[in-house]
């Protein structure tokens, strides 16, 4: 940590005559100097508005951001630096504090090691003196504002969110002392400093006492929020390498649509089919479709198996459609073409005659789809069923998956069903 270097470059303040912001800025710099911080030990984050004019005054590192976002920017700087010897100071006004209130609560919730100075002059100074979310009702009445909503207590909100220290100071002679405590406090500290806007508020600081909120101070004892760094390994290491072990009768490509209900293992079965195809020397793609509410409704997957590399992964005309529930069938039945081979469960209501099987009965609710897929593999002879058995070998569910695949052996007899449409 450096010492004896001035934090302020310029002591001539850019604010209106009599503005309280100058006192706040001098107090911040004085506090940093008293605590022994050198300019390069400090990253000053500034906001938009009158309080955002401070960058040129400081010899520290500075970053001047957007309106209200500076506490979030400060969180990023603090976590990015991850250095207890570097201090992050954020300065914003009461306008910034409300536009980005969530950012303050989040910084407090995480107890990020930074100090936020909210300079509250009770109004939006730079845009003409409009009322802010921190304007008190007394001040709003004085300004003839018809807004009587209670102001935010940003100090208490920060405390409730978990700030290590949050404090409001109205007495300018005490600014530096309070800032010393805040900047020295590990974790998130918020200091609300009362300030005078001589252009849009009142002319004398002595008048302010009628319009400001009482001083308050809160503390929380919590660990400092840090971002953990960890050793990780390549995602490619987790990719299952599938070398060709079986042969396939597919000479071109086929597209298989697999349909059922959420929780029925549709996506897993599709992936296993694609992987079995790869064991049989085929190229494969697999994609899923399901409602946003993944735990209910239909679940549909598409698998393309091809002798040649696959570019386009869409499926225009499915060669095979397999469905084991009404949810799934209703989603895919319109995709069937004259050349599609259809395999559906015997409990599915259909208007046309399709070959049906008791996939649910013999495979069970969880195993029906794999039973149906296995049945199609057996029927079509696209590749040996052993490819599918092999691919599930390493699964922690290998036993039940094997059982579902073998259950297809029971499906010898073809049953046809036709359920007439109900008449109204």
């Amino acid at each position: 940590m450096e010492t004896a270097e001035k934090i302020l470059i310029d002591t001539k303040m850019p604010f209106c005559p009599g503005c309280g912001h100058g006192v706040c800025v001098r107090s911040v710099s004085k506090s940093l100097e008293l605590l022994g911080y050198g300019p390069k030990d400090v990253a000053l984050v500034s906001d938009i508005g009158c309080s955002g004019l401070v960058d040129p005054l400081f010899a520290t590192h500075t970053i001047h951001g957007l309106h209200g976002r500076s506490p979030a920017l400060g969180v990023g700087v603090a976590l990015g630096l991850n250095n207890p010897h570097k201090k992050v100071i954020v300065i914003q006004g009461d306008g910034g504090a409300t536009i980005g209130l969530q950012h303050i609560l989040e910084a407090a919730r995480r107890n990020i090691d930074m100090t936020l100075v909210v300079i509250n002059n009770l109004l939006y100074g730079m845009t003409g003196g409009q009322m802010s979310g921190l304007s008190t009702n007394e001040f709003k009445a004085y300004k003839h504002s018809d807004d009587d909503a209670e102001p935010y207590d940003v100090v208490n909100l920060a405390h409730q969110s978990g700030a290590a220290l949050s404090v409001r100071v109205n007495d300018i002679s005490n600014f530096t002392n309070v800032l010393n405590e805040a900047i020295s406090t590990p974790g998130f500290s918020l200091v609300e400093l009362s300030s005078l806007c001589t252009s849009h508020g009142m002319k004398k600081i002595s008048e302010m006492k009628n319009f400001i909120v009482d001083e308050e101070k809160y503390t929380n004892e919590r660990p400092i929020g840090i971002s953990l760094k960890r050793e990780t390994s390549s995602l490619l290491k987790h990719v299952k390498i599938l070398e060709t072990q079986f042969s396939s009768s597919i000479n071109d490509s086929i597209g298989v649509v697999i349909a059922g209900s959420a929780g029925g293992g549709i996506q897993s079965a599709a992936k296993l089919l694609a992987q079995a195809g790869m064991l049989a020397g085929l190229h494969a793609t697999m994609k899923g479709e399901y409602p946003i509410t993944v735990g209910t409704g239909f679940s549909v997957a598409e698998v393309i198996l091809s002798k040649n590399p696959i570019n386009f992964t869409g499926l225009e005309n499915p060669s095979v459609v397999i469905a084991v529930t009404d949810d799934g069938w209703n989603k895919v039945k319109n995709r069937i073409t004259n050349t599609s081979k259809v395999f559906i469960d015997s409990k599915i209501s259909t208007e046309k005659v399709y070959e049906t099987k008791d996939f649910l009965k013999v495979g069970g609710k969880k195993g029906a789809i794999l039973c149906a897929v296995s049945h199609w593999i057996n029927e079509s002879g696209v590749f040996p069923i052993e490819a599918l058995l092999k691919v599930v070998e390493d699964s922690k569910y290998a036993e039940s998956l094997h059982k579902a695949i073998h259950s297809a052996e029971e499906l010898r007899e073809v049953v046809y069903s036709y359920v007439p449409k109900k008449k109204n």
Binding site: K40, T62, H64, G80, Q102, V239, M278, K287, N311, F312
Partner: protein, 362 residues
């Protein structure tokens, strides 16, 4: 089997990206989960505005941050993205396109965000936008994205689509060459150090907040070479003008594309992103029927390289294949006005198929 989410995530980390900061949104969620597993540092932001602000902080502190989102999240990020651009902070944003407008259909792919990104920087400033057309591109362009972000001190967008990043595909991962971390050693500069003073390469030397050598300043408002707000001075306006020039004048250092040119062809298909694979199939089919046709797959969508104009101008007939309503890339090249030499093969709400492209382009 693998998907492009994993490939892009791995490539970004190998290229030296330090931290993933995200807010989950379909269909970019695979990036979120893969990044949680792979990035040395992972943060869950409370909203997309916070995410990008935190990323700015990390970037200003010398790290390379990454996020992934979709249009609703990107829209929230628009103001901060302008800040990133103005501050000249390196970072990478992966945008996974889905069907809009508004929240649209979260699980339906699309290519509908290109023109939003074209105008997202107020004033019409260019933002580098890379668009992988397949898994191989996903690997190499992610590396180029980090490289470009650092080299030009700029945010870089990797524009993808649901179908590219969520579809699993058999793929030889051994074909992916290991990547090197991008060097972040500050460039030499002529003293004294000024955070926004650029040399002939138009890119200022980067020193992070908190460094012990030089005072670092970053500024989202119009600023001078020292990084201080200056309204309308020649120096500050030149500094802003430079943001455009550094990216447009040096575009050919990062203008990526694939031209499958056929001798004697007067017919060209132009495409990008997820529609490229369908276009590859369409071209193969057309050629098998004796048609002469060439294919241009654009991988750096913005800024537009003069090379692309030259290629397009050298053909009599051009078909733009895109998964949106009107052909957004076509409109960026030719405008909205009808042009007799230009056709569009477009599709709304489902993937454009090879046969549909073939029908328009033949």
């Amino acid at each position: 089997m693998i998907d492009a989410s994993r490939i892009i995530t791995e490539a970004l980390v190998q290229s030296g990206a330090d931290v993933f900061i995200g807010y989950p949104i379909t269909p970019s969620n695979l990036f979120y989960s893969c990044s949680k597993e792979r990035f040395p540092e992972f943060l869950a932001g409370p909203d997309e505005i916070s995410v990008l602000q935190w990323m700015c902080g990390y970037s200003a502190a010398g790290k390379i941050p990454v996020t992934a989102t979709s249009f609703p999240g990107l829209a929230l990020m628009a103001e901060t993205l302008n800040m990133v651009y103005m501050m000249e902070l390196p970072m990478v944003l992966v945008i996974v396109q889905r069907l809009g407008p508004s929240t649209g259909s979260a699980t339906t792919g699309a290519q509908g965000d290109l023109k939003f990104l074209d105008g997202i920087i107020s004033g019409g400033f260019p933002l580098p936008i890379f668009s992988p057309s397949n898994f191989k591109d996903a690997w190499t362009l992610s590396n180029e994205a980090v490289k470009t972000a650092v080299k030009f001190r700029t945010p870089v967008i990797i524009l993808t689509s649901k179908e590219l990043v969520m579809t699993q595909k058999s793929f030889d991962i051994n074909s992916l060459e290991p990547l090197q971390k991008i060097d972040r050693t500050p460039k030499p500069f002529e003293p004294p150090y000024q955070p926004y003073k650029a040399g002939e390469d138009m890119v200022p030397t980067f020193y992070p907040l908190g460094n012990d050598e030089y005072q670092a300043r970053f500024n989202a408002s119009t600023h001078d070479n020292d990084g201080l707000i200056r309204k309308g001075t020649p120096e500050s306006l030149a500094n802003t003008w430079r943001l455009r020039e550094k990216l447009e004048k040096r575009i050919d250092e990062y203008a990526f594309y694939e031209l499958d040119s056929e001798d004697g062809a007067t017919n060209l298909i132009v495409t990008w992103g997820v529609t490229a694979d369908a276009s590859r199939d369409a071209v193969n089919s057309l050629r098998s029927k004796g048609e002469k046709v060439s294919l241009l797959i654009v991988k750096t969508l913005l800024p537009i390289s003069q090379k692309f104009y030259d290629i397009i101008d050298s053909y009599d007939r051009v078909t733009f294949a895109e998964e949106n309503m009107t052909g957004l890339y076509k409109e960026m090249i030719f405008g909205k006005r009808n042009n007799p030499k230009v056709k569009t093969a477009t599709k709304f709400a489902t993937m454009l198929t090879p046969s549909e492209i073939e029908e328009i382009a033949k």
